[in-house]
Symmetry: C2
Subunit: 144 residues, 2 copies
């Protein structure tokens, strides 16, 4: 079972790619910090200062300006996230985020899937606001 979310962003794929991998940029739309530049086989520590949360991700694959694949989660509960960038023309990029690893027999399956969808739609809209309009204060509005 996977969760797929797609957003058109009116920027070249290069700009979208850098927003994810450059630790100077991620705080404008997603996590508050990223420990270093995302590269294949690196383990990156991502912090959500506002929610007092830390997550470690392992970067499995990077194709510059096209694809980022990473793993997160504890042993036996790993999820794989694939971020694919398709440049539609010089001015726009389709960003597709797919998360895999949900277990249909988990009693919390439905809530996990819905919460996951919420997070990805929110991040991608914040990314659009940041890259297209320079707005970097959208990212902490979602309430529990």
């Amino acid at each position: 079972m996977n969760n797929l979310t797609k957003m058109n962003i009116l920027k070249p794929a290069n700009d979208v790619f850098e927003a994810f991998v450059d630790p100077e940029k991620i705080g404008n739309f997603w996590f508050s910090s990223s420990s270093e530049r995302w590269q294949k086989d690196k383990t990156i520590t991502l912090e959500y200062k506002e929610y007092n949360a830390i997550v470690e991700i392992e970067v499995l694959e990077i194709i510059d300006f096209k694809k980022i694949v990473y793993r997160w989660g504890e042993s036996g509960e790993e999820h794989i996230v694939t971020i694919s960038l398709t440049e539609l023309d010089d001015l726009s990029t389709l960003v597709e985020v797919k998360e895999e690893g949900f277990k249909q027999d988990d009693p919390d399956f439905l809530n996990q899937l819905i919460g996951n969808k919420e997070g990805w739609v929110y991040m991608l809209t914040c990314l659009k606001g940041y890259l297209e309009f320079g707005v970097n204060k959208l990212r902490t509005g979602l309430a529990e």
Copy 2:
């Protein structure tokens, strides 16, 4: 079964309320047009020009600056949407959107719920971008 989404918006409840009910404002963050001001017992035609879609809603309840309840959907398949506004202080409002009417025995239940969550998170983030930063071009980026 319902779907609940919450967003903090750094504006007074009055401003958030008007963004929904004033047909001059909705095109900045949600539908492209609204046929008239939302008032109790009115049937409003909402258009999504970009997706060639039209939906009619029946406004069931309005409490100025606090609550909007409407019904949409065909007979036997109606959904009820409740938008609640709680002013946290003069500068911020918690917006809660609850949609009810999902049927757990529908084979498409899971997809409906996830698609619904996607739509509400997106709209609320676009609303935040519009009200807080004057950005009114976020609303058509989500791709199928």
